[in-house]
């Protein structure tokens, strides 16, 4: 399997070259995306088979590459295999989508060479079993996606996004370098096998965890290192956005899990508390941002931040239980987190694909210019509805299952020994539910404004349904969302080997029956997505049939009532920002210093009234802008050093010499 993965990665790299050098763009599209889809599907299938077979770790495969005295190690254990599956499942379907979407690409030669390389790099991250290979793949992933973000490079906003992205990626990598430096020790044993055997002092291990959290967290989008994400993810072409949001953040999560659960040794309880707290804050702030956003793809990117926060809450919980020696309880949040990762990769990819379809059909991503697309793009609208339902964390779809599992785990927290944790965990649970409820609001708003109502611009009114290939790939995502929501047991079964490998326990026997989930041993709390789905459809259909048979069947189309003042002007509809207004008032004034200003003309003036809204992202305000200002300030002041006379420069030399002489003389004494 490991060798197969390397072969597939090599094949993808070759596809990258093909994408760069293929003479005709149409052919290149088919070759690159078709090839990527096949490679990804093959890998996904292999990973699935391996996981069904128990997910035993493959032996370490060593290639004579990388650091000469370490070499490149590759190994797939249950954790890697699960993420390989997650990655390639989404990648295969997204590649399929791209077969249709890519045809509308403005500059295919800026996407085609990097797309397969990006896939290959992500796969290699998952397979790497030494720090060097891991980071090489990790950075290649960043660079490839940076180039993809630059695909539409003529817009200054995209260039800015790409810059912030790569700069943050560099920052994250440095943090990971530090973390690996600590884990490897001064002797430079960079293989993961070597790191596992090192015994770090609690302080060093804690430092490594914090650094890993910074490094992997910045890639995953944890607050306050999330600032690049809502800029970069939307800037890429939509299928790439789908991968960045749906998959790359998961690769980052994989990195975090790998370091925290596997390499760092026995955990301390505060690690989990830290990760959980960061996750909770991330979840709420992310979704609040999403609620206030008016660009579809940016909104989806912020929602990714929320979901990453949710996953982090789960991982933190798992760590807390593991550190407290309650390994059995650790499996549940761990599985919930990974399951949520899988679910998020499905519905976020689906939604980004749908957003791409909408943006292509209407030429805009601004929700305030959309509306009524359910009539013009009915199939897209249907799959997008499934996606919105899933991402809002509602039964009977998959987003709910993982959040429910996580809440079940929150309910086991009273068994924790630390009093502080007993308080933190429920609060994290509340934040989780708050985020989920806000997510529901957010996606009511998104779906309602984009697909429902009446078109808010001529472009939206003139939109047409998208390609069949795109629809089918989105439908496949929707079907997977439904399956994972209704019958989550098989999917959870795929995660269990990873849980056994990382936290040393799985779910209690029979906990994951095929119909009901009852994840906590000795507690009969259970849930069945299938029954809810069947009831929803069965009851609904039955009632509808009954009503149509017994009641009055006729239907009349008439102008809407609208309290007696129906207006034909679509601008009288509720807009995205008016929809968000109550929540903005309640939450935004605290979190983002949201301020609304209304500029009302005096009576008699003919100019229109204007409404302006200002928001402050605290991360920019308190962290990044001051940093940028400091660099500018320093550059400004040091720049003077360039414009000095030779005499001044000589004085510097002289001063340096004298200072060093004095220093040596002083030290020698």
């Amino acid at each position: 399997m490991t060798a197969d993965l390397l072969v597939a990665a090599a094949a993808l790299l070759v596809l990258g070259f093909a994408g760069a050098l293929w003479p005709r763009p149409d052919g290149a599209q088919i070759v690159v995306y078709g090839g990527s889809a096949i490679a990804a599907a093959a890998l996904a299938g292999q990973a699935l088979l391996a996981l069904l077979g128990g997910g035993a770790a493959t032996p370490v495969l060593t290639l004579p590459l990388g650091l000469p005295w370490v070499q490149a190690h590759f190994r797939l254990d249950a954790l890697s295999l699960f993420f390989v599956l997650l990655l390639n499942l989404a990648a295969a379907l997204v590649s399929l989508y791209a077969l249709g979407y890519g045809r509308h690409e403005e500059a295919p030669h800026r996407v085609l060479p990097f797309y397969p390389v990006y896939l290959a790099a992500m796969n290699l991250v998952l397979a790497a079993a030494d720090a060097f290979s891991f980071l090489v793949s990790w950075e290649c992933m960043s660079v490839a996606s940076w180039l993809l973000v630059l695909a539409q490079h003529r817009e200054a906003a995209n260039r800015h996004a790409a810059f912030v992205y790569l700069a943050m990626a560099g920052f994250g990598t440095m943090a990971l370098l530090f973390a690996f430096g600590l884990l490897a020790g001064a002797q430079g044993d960079y293989s993961f096998a070597g790191m596992r055997t090192h015994d770090l002092t609690p302080v060093l291990a804690g430092a490594a965890i914090v650094l890993a959290l910074i490094g992997a967290g910045s890639k995953a989008g944890l607050v306050p290192l999330h600032v690049w994400l809502p800029l970069a993810h939307p800037a890429a072409p939509s299928h790439v956005s789908a991968l960045m949001s749906g998959v790359m953040t998961k690769v980052a999560i994989y990195g975090l899990v790998r370091i925290v659960f596997d390499l760092a040794g026995p955990p301390q309880w505060w690690w989990g508390a830290l990760i959980m707290t960061v996750g909770a804050v991330t979840a709420v702030l992310g979704i609040l941002h999403a609620l206030l956003e008016r660009d579809i793809k940016t909104l989806l990117a912020y929602s990714t931040i929320k979901n990453v926060g949710v996953i982090a809450i789960g991982l933190g919980l798992a760590l807390v239980f593991r550190a407290s020696g309650i390994g059995d309880f650790a499996a549940l949040p761990f599985i919930a987190a990974l399951f949520h990762a899988l679910n998020h990769s499905l519905f976020k990819s689906l939604l980004f694909c749908a957003a791409g379809a909408v943006a292509h059909a209407t030429g805009t991503r601004d929700i305030e210019r959309l509306g009524g697309l359910i009539h013009r793009m009915p199939r897209t609208a249907f799959v997008a509805l499934v996606g919105c339902f899933a991402i809002a964390g509602l039964p009977p779809l998959n987003g709910f299952v993982s959040e429910w599992l996580m809440l079940q785990s929150v309910f086991t927290s009273p068994s924790l020994p630390q009093p502080l944790l007993k308080l933190i965990v429920p609060v994290a649970g509340v934040m989780l539910v708050l985020a989920a409820a806000l997510a529901a609001a957010c996606f009511v708003r998104l779906y309602g404004i984009v697909f429902l109502g009446r078109p808010r611009s001529p472009d939206a009114a003139a939109a047409g349904e998208t390609d069949a290939v795109m629809i089918w790939s989105m439908a496949a995502f929707a079907a997977l969302c439904l399956v994972c929501g209704a019958l989550p047991a098989p999917a959870i079964g795929l995660i269990e080997p990873a849980a056994r490998a990382m936290v040393g326990a799985g779910l209690p026997d029979g906990g994951a029956g095929w119909l009901y989930l009852a994840p906590v041993a000795g507690k009969p709390s259970s849930y069945s997505g299938a029954v809810v789905l069947l009831a929803m459809i069965g009851f609904g259909l039955a009632v509808a049939l009954l009503v149509h048979r017994l009641g009055w069947r006729s239907l009349r189309r008439a102008p809407p009532w609208d309290c007696g003042f129906p207006s034909t002007d679509p601008t009288t509809q509720y807009s995205g920002s008016s929809f968000a207004q109550p929540l903005r008032r309640v939450f935004g004034t605290v979190a983002f210093r949201a301020a609304e200003t209304v500029d009302m003309p005096d009576p008699g003036e003919t100019r229109p009234a204007r409404f302006a809204l200002s928001l402050w992202d605290p991360a920019w305000r308190f962290v990044f802008n001051p940093c940028a200002r400091f660099v500018v300030w320093a550059a400004e002041h040091l720049n003077a050093l360039q414009f000095m006379t030779i005499r001044r420069h000589l004085s510097f030399m002289f001063a340096t010499l004298i200072a060093l002489l004095l220093a040596v003389a002083a030290v020698a004494r």
Binding site: H375, P378, L385, G393, L394, P395, F400, L407, Q408, P414, L423, P426, G429, V430, M431, L434, A437, L438, A440, V444, R445, Y447, L452, Y516, A518, P524, S525, S526, S528, V532, A535, M536, I537, F539, G540, L541, V543, A544, V547, G551, W552, L555, R556, R557, A558, P560, W561, D562, C563, P570, T572, Q573, Y574, S575, S578, F579, Q581, P582, R585, V586
Partner: protein, 315 residues
Amino acid sequence: MNAVATQLAQIALVLALAPLLTGFVRVVKARLVGRRGPPLFQPYRDLARLLRKEAVLAPNASWLFRAAPYLVFALTWLTAALVPGATAMLALGPTADLIALIAILASARFLLALAGMDVGTAFGGIGSSREVMFAAIAEPAMLMVTFTVALVAGSTALPEIARFVIGGGVGLEVSLALALIALVMVAVAENGCIPVDNPATHLELTMVREAMVLEYSGRHLAMIEAAAMLRLLAHAALIACIFAPWGMALSADPAALIWGLASFVGKMAVAGVALAVFETSIAKMRVFRVAEFLGGALMLALIGTVVRLMSEGLG
């Protein structure tokens, strides 16, 4: 087999009882303010009348608009059918624990809010927007309540909680009392009762739920009305099941079942009176005060949890 039978009975029972509860509340409310009020069975007649009427749709209403009432009804019905009322012996009981029940109601609300935005009117948007804001605060409060209850009862499965409470495992708990208050506040908000919303209002700007369903008529409106009645019943049953499960049948013994049914109807009646008293004795709030109201519920529930954790820590 017994469980299947009781489950089927429960499914039918809630459907039958829901309009009655609503009618009862209306009657008591009218009496409290000195009016005669509508007949007790008026809600049944209303529903039947609506079902017989022609449905009018806006020209640009989509399939979602037409499907939503049925789905909302189905989900709400399911919820009501899963809350142990007369008996805890329900075949589908494991389908959803307390958290899942809340989430199923949230699904219904999600669909309804979408439907409110479908026609593209300003009022539909107002309703949806306010509804989801309330939910965003109510659901965390609900979770906190659940947490406190789960702390006490050791489970989130309703039959289990009921069994535990009946079994006398609980003394007089401050935390549970706080949770009860919080849960009532949430239920009041969720069901669009005064002071949060007024279903009987005709002033559109103050509407919340009514604004959402403003464009519905005929059988669609009937479904939505029925769903609202079922939701009220479900909430009342939920509160009863957690805080006053006494009388509920825990076995398939026919006598117990009959006693369970009687006590359930009695509890519903008490709940109806309480709600009516509450509604008539308070004025409706401004929309943004509702956030504070629900925030208060969240705080109460949180305090309840902390109290419970502290008492555990001490004990």
